[in-house]
């Protein structure tokens, strides 16, 4: 969390994270370039750069896309989610080197504008085998650029979290375009079982993890409260909520989190204002509900971030009837103070 915008709010964990990004990228480049120079030494420098950085970007994109579902399935993976945007920007930079060199190599120094040439030098749009695969890579790079350029919280705030999230969900479109770019380009010219297998394995891994996570979330969303009395919905007994933690319920059509802390119970929206993180999977730390994704904090009794922060989320009324907790499904205005129930 930060009050003023800074390029990066550095901390120890971010530095460690970025150190391993750099180490991973260097190891990849050294392996790819070293093996190529040793075993296939007639390569040209331009080709080596285009291929090393293109394949590196693909590898990093796969790692990025598995982190999300892994963190949903097991909270011990959450540290990988915390600074994922730096991994995303690194992946974009690798893709940019690949795309930039490719555009210079294949489309520039001709008699037409290089960008125009990407779209017009091969007009076989109706043929799968001859399709101009460069166009797919170009659009993927544009998406990755938009994501990298707007990755800072400044844009998150100014675009609104909803718009920002939609924009960043386009990573899946970029992934699809990149898969097609590779299958209709490099793999057409030099098909190999190894390359096709690794691309297919990557896709299967990402698809499976997302399907498993999606299935888990859908199942949770379908769990309805069973008893409704005068508009109050029974959610659980007090003993079922762990100390300093929450239980998440679907009330109405919204996910709400009921937190237990200091012999009190409060209910707030489950959705963090920052990036929509699941607050109910967070913890009460120093009296504040703390989001598991990036550590954004809210006071449980009013849904307000502690000063000087200004984020606010909806709160809900609770009642205790013989240690049974009931929720009034109507969300109160964001930041509305609600007296916690005590026990």
């Amino acid at each position: 969390m930060g009050v003023n915008y800074q390029p990066v709010l550095w901390n120890r964990n971010k530095k460690i994270y970025d150190k391993w990004i750099v180490i991973g990228m260097l190891i990849y480049l050294l392996c790819f370039i070293g093996i190529t120079i040793i075993t296939n030494n007639e390569t040209s420098v331009e080709t080596l750069i285009i291929r090393a950085f293109g394949t590196l970007a693909i590898a990093l994109l796969h790692i990025i896309l598995v982190i999300g579902p892994l963190a949903r399935l097991n909270s011990k993976f959450l540290p990988l989610l915390y600074n994922r945007r730096h991994l995303g920007v690194s992946m974009f930079l690798a893709a940019l080197v690949h795309g930039g060199f490719s555009v210079f190599q294949f489309h520039s120094l001709g008699n037409v504008n290089p960008i125009y040439a990407i779209f017009t030098s091969n007009m076989d749009y109706g043929s799968l085998a001859n399709f101009p695969f460069q166009v797919l890579g170009f659009f993927a790079l544009v998406i990755l650029f938009l994501m990298a350029a707007t990755s800072h919280d400044f844009w998150l705030k100014n675009l609104s979290p909803k718009t920002w999230k939609r924009l960043h969900m386009m990573v899946y479109l970029a992934y699809g375009l990149i898969i097609l770019h590779v299958f209709l380009g490099a793999l057409q010219q030099q098909p190999s079982i190894g390359s096709i297998a690794i691309m297919s394995l990557g896709f299967i891994t990402i698809a499976t993890l997302h399907l498993v996570t999606g299935s888990k979330e859908t199942k949770a969303d379908k769990t309805k409260t069973q008893h409704i009395e005068n508009g109050w919905e029974y959610v659980c007994d007090i003993d079922e909520v762990p100390e300093d933690r929450a239980k998440i319920f679907i009330v109405g059509k919204e996910r709400i989190a009921v937190f237990k802390y200091d012999n009190k119970l409060s209910a707030i929206s489950n959705v963090c204002k920052h990036q929509g993180g699941p607050l109910g999977e967070g913890k009460v730390v120093d009296g504040c509900v703390t989001c598991p994704w990036h550590g954004y904090q809210y006071l449980p009794h009013n849904g307000q971030s502690p000063p000087p922060f200004t984020e606010k989320i909806a709160t809900y009324r609770l009642k205790n009837d013989n240690n049974k907790i009931y929720v009034l499904p109507e969300a109160l205005a964001e930041g509305t103070e609600v007296e916690p129930i005590t026990f």
Binding site: N11, N13, G24, I27, Y28, C31, F32, I35, T36, N40, N41, E42, T43, S44, E46, T47, R51, T55, A59, I63, L70, S75, K76, F77, P79, L80, N83, Q105, F106, H107, S108, L109, G110, N111, V112, S121, N122, L128, A129, N130, P132, G185, L187, Q188, Q189, P191, S192, G194, S195, I198, P242, E243, D244, D262, K283, D286, T290, P292, H294, G295
Partner: protein
């Protein structure tokens, strides 16, 4: 009271539990191993690169008889009674013609003249090309003498040849690979820019031959041939020998796209 035993990671707090640290360490270890595996697979599955050469940073001065039949070339003496015809090209995806404009204006007849040109050599499989980057580096050595022009010889009529139409600049050294689907757009731009189209054929013994493509009257073809570049094609035409090069004189409308199915679907 906060439950201290309850493991919870906060990015901006330095402390990280042993269990979470172990999971993250395992992920990083596995991630690095995955990166190495991917690098090894992608690196080893590349096709073997050709030993073609482009002397980008080396300037070489060559002297020979200039001719254009129809593409700019320099007939260079390599030994007694032995000559090599070096195809002349411009910088980037351009023909040599823009760079020859100045000397054409200076002398009445360039064809047949002995000239000296400094540029970057490109060579592979017995063929040599020269990239001209500066029109100041072309100088007249001796005035035109038509006796010194290369002789052409008509060899075969209506010959059918299967191969790929490539741009010779990239194919013979500037790019690796300089053919096929990945390179197709570049080849289209090169030939569109005036670089001569060349048919590259390979026989069953993996021996390649190259044919400079012209129209049936021996004039240059560029724009009309663009849809057929970089794809396996069948060309029918007359073969003319220009000393160490072959020419294939064709009617562009007779080129057949072989529509070879893709190797992966």
């Amino acid at each position: 009271m906060e439950n201290k035993e309850d493991d919870f990671y906060i990015g901006y707090v330095d402390n990280i539990s042993v269990k979470t640290k172990k999971t993250v360490t395992n992920f990083v270890f596995f991630g690095i191993l995955t990166l190495i595996t991917i690098a090894v697979i992608f690196a080893f599955t590349q096709n073997t690169f050709k030993n073609s050469t482009f002397e980008l940073t080396t300037n070489t001065k060559i002297m020979g008889v200039y001719h254009e039949m129809p593409y700019p070339m320099l007939k260079v003496k390599t030994a007694e009674n032995t000559f090599k015809n070096i195809l002349l090209l411009g910088f980037g995806k351009s023909s040599a013609n823009p760079f020859l404009k100045k000397i054409r204006n200076e002398i009445s007849q360039l064809s047949g003249s002995m000239v000296s040109i400094e540029g970057n050599l490109i060579y592979y499989n017995g063929k040599t090309l020269l990239q001209i980057t500066n029109d100041e580096k072309i100088t007249l050595v001796e005035k035109a003498n038509s006796q010194k022009l290369p002789q052409t010889k008509s060899l075969v009529k209506d010959m059918e040849l299967k191969g790929e139409i490539i741009d010779p600049k990239c194919y013979f050294g500037v790019m690796k690979p300089g053919k096929g689907k990945i390179h197709r757009s570049c080849a289209v731009l090169c030939i569109s820019g005036g670089i001569p189209p060349v048919l590259a054929t390979t026989d069953e013994n993996n021996i390649s031959e190259y044919y400079l493509i012209t129209d049936l009257k021996g004039n240059p073809i560029n724009k009309k041939i663009l849809p057929y570049i970089g794809k396996p094609s069948l060309l029918t035409g007359n073969i003319v020998q220009l000393e160490d090069w072959y020419q294939l004189q064709i009617d562009v409308n007779t080129i057949k796209d072989l529509n070879r199915p893709s190797k992966i679907y």
